[in-house]
């Protein structure tokens, strides 16, 4: 058995009949949705194909950059056509609260149950990790590079142009760490204090970026000297020869998780698949194809990932220890949603 890749969101609109057709005759199948691009290719090779083979199921794939609106519409229609989604953990949590996600029975997901509690929720299991890190130009800072968010805020010691993400996620955490809050003492976030600290740096921010590609370009073109960016984007730019680097120190560790749509057409198979997808060996395969860390920390004990490779990954235990783990539970709480809304008015002042 292999996975079949359906093209785009069109499938979601055309319905299960048109897309499921490729899997006709297979005993068991699921439709798996991820974010596309190099990332989905990497997970197809590392996780999806081996899982399909081992379980003897067919995995139909779909991809969409932002799954949330589609999840809402599909479950709202009462007849979802997707089973498992790989989406930022916050979507799984919020979806769980709004009745859009199935509650997971962890007795049927032993691989997930063995993971640290902070890495799962009643509705989701962490699937892979990335980090919002402090990245900088090695041309501007050949030595004594900025190494903490306090350095990022220190415009006297580290003069240069800066960029931050136009989104409260990780940005509020960074502001609080710049103000002296320890990475493991962030939550519940002191939102007032974070925005006050952001006011300080606001005049020095050249760009508030909205897409990962944009952040990579800013760094690559030398448009900014330091910025918050996702680790995979920075290493991709560095691989292409740009003189840029980043530090995991005080990075904000974020994850995408697997969750199942409420009323998924192939619920039982979907649960089986989730267990297989977080199997340590499959998980250890992922970073061999892309710069993201495995969601299951046991992957680092499989000897599949070489030590020098492990050292580059955001979820490698000693790297993870330097970082703050984002609390999606806090962000999907009323306080978190209020902070998200406050961001909009902050940006337009």
């Amino acid at each position: 058995m292999t996975t079949t890749r359906n093209v785009g969101f069109g499938c979601a609109l055309l319905g299960a009949l048109a897309c499921g057709g490729t899997a006709a005759g297979a005993a068991e199948q699921i439709t798996f949705v991820s974010q596309g691009g190099a990332y989905q290719q990497a997970q197809t090779v590392a996780i999806l194909d081996p899982s399909a083979k081992k379980l003897g199921i067919t995995i139909n794939q779909d991809s969409i950059p932002d799954a949330w609106p589609a999840i809402k519409t599909q479950v709202g229609s009462g007849k979802p056509i997707w089973d498992v989604v790989d989406t930022p953990t916050g979507n799984c949590l919020r979806g769980g609260e709004q009745g859009l996600m199935e509650k997971l029975d962890f007795s049927k997901i032993p691989n997930g149950a063995a993971m640290p509690e902070a890495y799962r929720s009643p509705y989701s299991v962490s699937y892979e990790f990335y980090s919002s890190v402090l990245a900088y130009s090695q041309k501007t800072f050949p030595k004594d590079a900025p190494n903490s968010w306090a350095d990022f805020w220190d415009v006297k010691k580290f003069p240069g142009r800066r960029a931050l993400r136009n989104h409260p996620f990780a940005t509020l955490e960074a502001a609080l760490m710049a103000d002296g809050v320890a990475p493991d003492k962030l939550y519940p976030l002191d939102v007032d204090r974070a925005f006050k600290k952001l006011e300080e740096i606001r005049p020095h921010i050249t760009v508030w970026w909205t897409s990962g590609a944009q952040s990579a370009q800013l760094l690559n073109d030398g448009e900014v000297d330091m910025e918050m960016a996702w680790n995979g984007r920075v290493s991709a730019v560095a691989k292409e020869g740009a003189k840029v680097s980043f530090t995991y120190n005080q990075g904000i560790l974020q994850s995408t998780s697997l969750c199942i749509l409420k009323g998924a057409p192939n619920l039982a198979t979907a649960v089986k698949f989730i267990n297989e997808a977080v199997d340590p060996v499959h998980q250890a395969n992922l970073p061999l194809h892309i710069d993201y860390g495995p969601g299951n920390p046991k992957a680092f004990e499989t000897n599949v990932i070489k030590p020098e490779r492990a050292a580059q990954l955001p979820s490698e235990p000693s790297n993870a220890a330097k970082q703050a783990l984002m609390s999606y539970a806090w962000w999907s709480s009323p306080a978190g949603e209020a902070a998200e809304k406050r961001w909009a008015s902050f940006m337009q002042k």
Binding site: D66, W68, P69, K72, R94, R161, N166, H167, T206, V207, W208, W209, T210, Q214, D221, G222, E223, E340, K341, W343, A344, S345, M347, Q348
Partner: protein, 290 residues
């Protein structure tokens, strides 16, 4: 349509003809219904319905600061873009109108040429020109005109520059169409009565070209109100135009109702502008006819 008070023996025939016409245009009407009327209706419905009828979304749009600021900024930028496009576009249209046919075709071809490149590519091209390590800053530094790179992009300035570039054809074409219709004899008559070229221009040509000015300004202004990619890429995140507010509401805050309400307010503003303008000039005469 013939207006007759006497009974028309061919009335029945006429009715049949109308029915046939309707049948012939019905595929087009269906397309409009499916692609425009239904989605817009759904949009409007979503803005007032969320577990029951509610005006909450509109209350927010009209009372919350950020919406006001965004609408104000959008109108300011649109106004600036329209004025700059008029100042740049008028001479171009005038030139195209006064040179021999072959040259005017060349000028118009150059005006229309950018349409063959996507808006996204043009926005990135402006980024390459205007950014800190961009062509313009590098050149000025090479000439020693400046020591520090100028902030030409990731602000309102960059947004306006790129938007003007993209919308300029919408100013030039209606202007040119109107100018074409101004009889050259009038200019000669003015000259023969002893007026200087500049006096003829200001007293004769300029007033006669006003419908084109109004049409061009309306087109540019209205299109600018809905601009999205350009301010998103060149605004540096601070230039939040209304269209970006719509996308943020959907992507970040998952509020389809709020996004719909903003979209409906924008749509109504645009329709109102068209309505007001159409009281002064017949838009389709300027835009549709050579």
């Amino acid at each position: 349509m013939p207006t007759t008070s006497v009974p028309d023996p061919s009335q029945k025939h006429q009715r049949r003809e109308h029915a046939l016409m309707l049948a012939l245009v019905s595929p087009a009407l269906l397309v409009i219904l499916a692609l425009i009327v239904l989605p817009v209706g759904w949009l409007a419905w979503q803005s007032v319905y969320h577990d029951g009828f509610t005006l909450e979304n509109y209350r927010r749009v009209f009372t919350e600061d950020i919406y006001w600021r965004s609408f104000a900024l959008t109108f300011e930028i649109s106004l600036a873009v329209t004025l700059i496009a008029l100042l740049l576009g008028y001479p171009v249209a005038y030139l195209a109108n006064s040179v021999p046919k072959g040259w005017s075709i060349l000028i118009l071809a150059l005006v229309v040429l950018p349409f063959w490149t996507s808006v996204l590519v043009r926005a990135y091209a402006w980024l390459a020109l205007l950014q800190r390590t961009g062509v313009i800053n590098q050149f000025l530094r090479y000439l020693d005109v400046i020591s520090e790179p100028l902030a030409l992009v990731h602000n309102t300035f960059g947004t306006v520059v790129a938007t003007v570039h993209i919308l300029l054809p919408f100013m030039v074409l209606p202007l040119y169409a109107t100018m074409q219709k101004i009889p050259a004899d009038l200019m000669q008559a003015g000259a023969s009565l002893g007026a200087s070229p500049s006096l003829t221009f200001f007293r004769v040509f300029l007033p006669l070209s006003m419908p084109g000015v109004l049409a061009g300004c309306t087109m540019v202004f209205v299109l600018c109100l809905g601009f999205y990619i350009t301010p998103e890429l060149l605004g540096g995140g601070r230039t939040v135009m209304v269209s970006m507010l719509v996308s943020r509401n959907v992507e970040l805050y998952n509020q389809f109702g709020a996004a719909s309400a903003v979209a409906v307010v924008l749509l109504v503003s645009v329709l109102a502008i068209f309505f007001v303008v159409s009281r002064f000039i017949s838009l389709d005469r300027v835009l549709g006819q050579k």
